[in-house]
């Protein structure tokens, strides 16, 4: 039974998380950046390097969102290239079940697993919106509530093909007749936060990448997921829970806190704060001062603009109520636009402190089985990862909660998953 911490890095490649104004930032699209990152992670004995994917470039009011890093490679292609540059690190590709053909994707994932010697992972995601579907043959064909039904059927097809079974399935979710792929067994990742996602995770996932990072939420989430596992006849130890997390390290608690404040202000710049509000107001707010009060106009209720890449589905309705709530909050605490956005932006939890403090905190997560580790979202490249590898990993190792060498060669072995 493993009571050790597992770590991955989630390289999203888009969004405000990564601070491109950092002087050390070179390019988030150049292959050399990916190679250097993967090699640093391998030096730090990480379990996995994990690439995000989104199938439409994010937009703000019909134009490409221009404030954040954007542009990323196809994950499987990139990871196949990285497989040639690394020997141990797990290579996890985010791939969509709504806008792929199951036999085609299963074959590519099997190829990545074979060519990397068993280091492939698949982060299973779904897309609910027709806006993304505008890039695909069957754009927008799948209603929101059937996304996970399709995903479940898709994963069943992929698993059968990997295990050497031909598939012949024709129903309203899947239409495929295909022969087996090369033998493969990619590790299956799932975000598993909504009820549908949790159920899919409990049925199929080897790893969940949840947003429940806060200690008490993590405990509750882990308990819920283990209960669901039992419902599918799976042992509680057959799944690893790796919540998303950001990390800010400093030599002293004060230094770490100061750095965290700086990172937050860099992530929520004035223009970004205005762009965030524009998603709700649905109009140009660039004339407002981000360090001033909230816009004095009300948005017109009506069709939400198509900025779906930057706004999650839960937030597409009830905008007026949300804005009224923000006005109350801003009035109570005298917040500027930028302060308010920092306050209300959904963020992955951030661990801020000295390496020793964070190592203690993470040891507690593992001991109490609140989590099996974390998927780290770097804000600075290469800074965040180099700091973790050079300063935090040795602290974790000295506490006996982190490996001192790779014992196995496959991702499944790294994660101590059932063979």
């Amino acid at each position: 039974m493993s009571h050790r911490l597992h770590l991955g890095v989630f390289f999203t490649g888009v969004g405000p998380q990564l601070i491109w104004t950092d002087p050390a930032f070179s390019s988030h699209t150049h292959i050399d950046t990916f190679i250097a990152t993967a090699k640093t992670l391998e030096r730090g004995l990480f379990d996995a390097f994990f690439l995000g994917e989104g199938l439409r470039v994010r937009e703000n009011r019909g134009r490409v969102h221009d404030l954040d890093v954007a542009g990323r490679p196809d994950a499987i292609t990139q990871l196949a290239a990285l497989a040639a540059e690394t020997s141990r690190i797990g290579l996890v590709a985010t791939q969509n079940t709504t806008y792929n053909f199951p036999a085609d994707l299963a074959r590519r994932l099997a190829g990545l697993d074979a060519i990397s010697g068993g280091r492939a992972g698949w982060n299973i995601v779904t897309t609910d919106n027709a806006w993304t579907g505008e890039n695909f043959r069957n754009g927008g064909w799948l209603p929101h509530d059937r996304r996970y039904a399709r995903a479940g059927a898709f994963v069943e097809v992929a698993k059968a093909l990997w295990q050497g079974h031909p598939v012949d399935r024709h129903d309203d979710l899947i239409d495929v007749t295909a022969a087996p792929t090369v033998p493969a067994r990619p590790v299956l990742f799932q975000a598993g936060d909504s009820p549908g996602g949790r159920d899919l995770a409990a049925r199929h996932a080897d790893v969940v990448f949840s947003a429940n990072t806060d200690y008490h939420k993590a405990i509750a989430y882990a308990a819920d997921l283990r209960r669901r596992l039992a419902g599918h006849g799976r042992s509680p130890d057959s799944l690893r829970i790796l919540p998303g997390a950001a990390v800010v390290l400093g030599d002293t608690p004060a230094e770490a806190a100061e750095k965290a404040r700086w990172i937050q202000r860099e992530q929520v710049t004035g223009p970004r704060a205005l762009a965030f509000l524009e998603q709700y107001w649905g109009k140009d707010l660039s004339g407002y001062d981000p360090d001033g009060p909230l816009p004095d106009i009300e948005p017109t209720e009506g069709e939400l603009d198509p900025s779906r890449g930057t706004i999650s589905i839960e937030h597409r309705t009830g905008k007026a109520e949300r804005i009224a709530g923000w006005r109350r909050l801003a009035a109570e605490r005298d917040l500027s636009i930028r302060d308010l956005v920092i306050e209300v932006t959904p963020q992955h939890s951030t661990f801020v402190g000295t390496p020793s403090q964070i190592a203690d905190e993470w040891s507690r997560y593992v001991r109490d089985r609140a989590a099996d580790g974390f998927n780290i979202l770097p804000q600075l490249l290469p800074g965040t990862i180099e700091d973790i590898v050079d300063k935090l990993i040795p602290e974790l190792q000295s506490r006996g909660v982190y490996r001192t060498e790779y014992e196995g060669t496959t991702l499944r072995e790294h994660l101590d998953l059932p063979g």
Binding site: T21, T29, H30, I31, I35, G54, L55, R56, V57, R63, V64, H65, D66, L67, D68, V69, A70, G71, R72, P73, D74, I76, T77, Q78, A80, A81, L82, A84, E85, Y99, N100, F101, A103, D104, R107, R108, A110, G111, L112, I115, E134, N135, F136, R137, G139, H170, I174, D175, V176, T177, A178, A179, P180, T181, V182, P183, T269, G270, P271, R272
Partner: protein, 315 residues
């Protein structure tokens, strides 16, 4: 007619990475990687090419991706990513497998004849438009305004084909070569869309004939396929399952190969070898005595100019 030694290409077939590094050392311009959606126990060609991108330094990498059984948007993304990972050595052999079995893997209706040609044309056209959808200087990193991108330089393509449409832009910035090098058989019926027409014909006369036609149809480069068999090999020419012509065959020793390639070079711009015995490569390499290509991109090697971006406004 070509003035220089013809370019060399090698079809890797099912053989693994070492063959590509040997081909690179032997002065080949590119390797092609055949594939089939029914390939079963074979690693998908795009994955193999991406892996080879980091095992080689100068040779071009051309996986076969079939337009009939994938999403055109994914295909364009995967190829753009291959070009990024290889720093400009990506190419694409256009596949159009259209058997009932191939279509059954994706549950799409089977296309043939003019409909199939239209689908292939649409897939090539949308890929090229998507490769242009980010202008080369779209990433500006302007600290003064906080803008990472120039939103005016990342474009919707709004492509409408016969059977699919794509809004774009691509999720991947413009490939280093601008657009990947597109190869395909002259028998696909889309020669006007190809950068390199591949001609499989059993005689030099037929190769000459079809080369003339391919050039008239607008192919900038023409490569002839050549099967190389060990000396004394006597098996009859194979009949290809898809009904296409069998390629020219060479059954002499490696010593006689340079002369045949030189003769072909008076007609075509390149020769793609299919080795019945991959173990013959070192002997062939020695007989040819070519230095490795210098690249750095495949377009540089082939003398194909880097295309201007259709969305860029002329300065």
């Amino acid at each position: 007619m070509s003035q220089r030694q013809p370019h060399l290409a090698l079809e890797l077939g099912e053989h693994a990475g070492d063959l590509a590094t040997s081909a690179e050392a032997a002065g080949f311009a590119l390797v092609t990687i055949a594939d089939s959606p029914l390939g079963g126990a074979r690693i998908e060609a795009g994955v193999r090419a991406a892996h080879l991108a980091r095992r080689t330094r100068r040779i071009g990498l051309a996986p076969t991706l079939h337009v009939t059984v994938t999403e055109p948007f994914h295909l364009a993304t995967q190829l753009a990513s291959l070009d990024h990972a290889s720093l400009g050595r990506g190419a694409w052999v256009v596949g159009a497998q259209n058997s009932a079995e191939a279509y059954a893997t994706v549950g799409l209706p089977r296309l043939d004849g003019a409909e199939l040609r239209r689908e292939i044309t649409d897939a090539i056209d949308v890929a090229r438009q998507l490769w242009d959808s980010w202008e080369d200087d779209a990433i500006i990193r302007d600290r003064s305004t906080g803008r990472f991108l120039d939103a005016g330089k990342v474009h919707h393509v709004n492509f409408t084909g016969a059977r699919f449409s794509v809004v774009g832009p691509l999720i991947t910035p413009r490939p280093p070569q601008g657009r990947l090098v597109v190869l395909g058989s002259d028998e696909l019926g889309v020669t006007d869309r190809l950068d390199i027409a591949l001609i499989a014909a059993p005689t030099l006369d037929e190769i000459t004939d079809r080369t003339r036609r391919a050039r008239a149809d607008g192919a900038p480069l023409v490569f002839a396929d050549l099967e190389v068999h060990p000396a004394g090999h006597s098996s009859p020419p194979r009949h290809l399952a898809d009904g296409s012509s069998p390629p020219l065959r060479h059954t002499g020793g490696a010593d006689e190969l340079p002369e045949l390639i030189e003769r072909l070079g008076r007609v075509v711009d390149g020769v793609r070898l299919h080795l019945a015995d991959p173990g013959a490569l070192p002997g062939i390499a020695a007989a040819l005595g070519r230095p490795p290509v210098t690249g750095p991109t495949l377009r540089d090697t082939l003398g194909l100019p880097r295309p201007a971006n259709r969305f860029a406004t002329v300065a």
